[in-house]
Amino acid sequence: MISNLVKAGLTRRTFLQSSAVTAISAGLPGAAFAADKTIKIGFLAPLTGAVAAWGKPGLDGCQIWAERVNAAGGIKLGDDSYTVELVSYDNEYDPAKARTGATKLIREDGVSFIMMLGGDTWPGVQPVADRTGMLFSTLLPSDLSPDTATLFAPTEVHPIYLVTGVEWLAENRPELKTAVMCAQDDALGLPSVATYLAAFEAAGIEMLDEPLLFDPATTDFAPVVTRLLSKNPDIVCLDTCYSDYVHPIAEQLFQQGFTGQIISATADFYDQMIAKTSKEFMEGFIFQFPDFDDPALNGDNINFEDPNGFYATYNERHPGQWGAVSWEYASIMDLWKAAAEKAGSAAPDAVAAAMKEGGTGNHAFGDAKWWGTELFGIDNALVGDWPVVVIQDGKAVIKGFRSIPDWYDKHGDLLVKHMQAYDQMWDQRS
């Protein structure tokens, strides 16, 4: 190659000079980049596969969050300002890939903090967390245990917030007395089943049948729905089913003639569900994740900055993609940023200590406390109020905020009982 160039008229001296200039030039952007102080944050969640709906929209939300923070001057640690850079890794909701991703983010990318969905992927990552002391977050506090000292659940307190939807339902539709439930048989479905069972028992709603568990590989939900409806329930509970399940189950409920109440943890892309069923069928559907253009999010109790503006930007960039997790990882970043600025450091242990200082924190939906010793064996879940959302006239509307700790103070024994029955207490999980 070089000899060909020389033959073409390029002297060896010119070639070496050009190479040297090129090498120096190539190094310059790196040097300039190093002058801009950057903090890297890892995003380790499913970006493809069946659970991608609870990863990818969160990454999109975080990108908006990072742009906003960087535009406002970045993160201030002591006298210095740092820009935020997100580094993502698709774990495909696979524990082995999650472990590889965590190692790569820590060793190769040098991240200061890693956000995860958790669930089935956390057991793969825990050895990495133990070895490195890296600070991780999960959306699923059911991952927490006394052995997970560097794992925090600072935003979503799945599945405990589900009690608020049932509590609201019982108060507002007291005539509904019976329920059935279905769920996928996995690390998301089972603790959620236990929580709904506790909430229904606390509300005096009778379960007509054992929760119907289905294989996560299920594609045809007609038999599941036939079984559910054979009991003639007032309420059908869809547990924490993935949106790939919620949609066909709702469609089957519609087609098999169900006219009662539906309650679910999520209703991602509910406009599509309405298109597949009808506005009348979906009226009153209860779930737990609001659209952020909801006026109720403009109250003084809300700690998420400019939720309406965030929602508008998100929908502008990703039309029709807003889902349960679109805001959640961004909200975690709010908490991490506040703690890092308080600590004056991005070091995992310093941020963790600052985050839990005083035992309280600014949760997106209001001030909350670090909680969970009884249920998780460690108080690393930030628990406070959670919204109850109802579809009205084709649009998700927040009907109120309910206190999770208040419910737990009254009915915590029921939750522990059902969690134990499903082997979901921290000391039962393998």
């Binding site: 045809d220 599941v224 066909p248 469609e251």
Partner: protein
Amino acid sequence: MLDLLAQTGLNAVYAASYISLVAVGLVLIFGVMGVVNFAHGELFMVGAYAVVALYADLQVPFFVAVAAGLIFVGCLGLVMERALFRPLRDNPLGGLVASIGFLMILQSLAVLGFGVRMEHIPPVTQEVLSLGDKVRLPVARLYVIVAAIVLLSSLWYFLKRTRFGWALRASAQDPEAAMLQGISINQTARIAMFIGAGLAGVAGALTAPLVSVNPHMGHSVIVTAFIVIIVGGVGSLEGAIVASVAYAFVHTFVTTFYDGVLADIVGLSLMLIVLIVKPTGLFGSADRA
């Protein structure tokens, strides 16, 4: 109780319909070409995405989109035959490995073209046939049942009553003898691949509005199809249809009366029992097993 049994029976008939379309296509390809096509589930997925692209995005009439899906996936089968399976004809393991590589390519193309999220497909119709107090059959599901009956009957007629069909069966029974009779093995392989892939494509296209369409949807379909063809007898079309019906009824009834996780265990147990009692499958012959 009668209503519940009837509704469950209808659910099972629907499941048997789309499973048999996929399984018969898989058996046909194996029978004629001797290749285990691991990418068959992805051909089902491509059929579903044809409906996403044409019906949901471009507002082409649904049945036109389904027909286009059948032809497109059939042509994709021709490409697979020419580019993957023909060069590896004497190496069955090579064909299998090539099909695994091809399924990854198809999945990746689906991710690149449509993203990772499930696709929204407007309902074809919201009409529901009421067959009793609590027995309902959505018309969209009836389409799948009717299409399976029509297509599988046509295939039976084609194989039993036409010269091409005889050639296909002859190639499946004894390729060398068929060649000596002047039958082109390449041509029969092309026909088998077009029909086999097309059946998977049409199954995906017809069921697309009823399931979650995503790049990984072929996985559970191919697992079910493999169970079915092992139970029915590898290489037996009749066996694939009978086993599809049996599997669909067992799985649907166990899901409805017990639970879905147990239904999977029972389905796999059914396969194990058949393998123990009759290792060639219900309709299989020893030379194909």
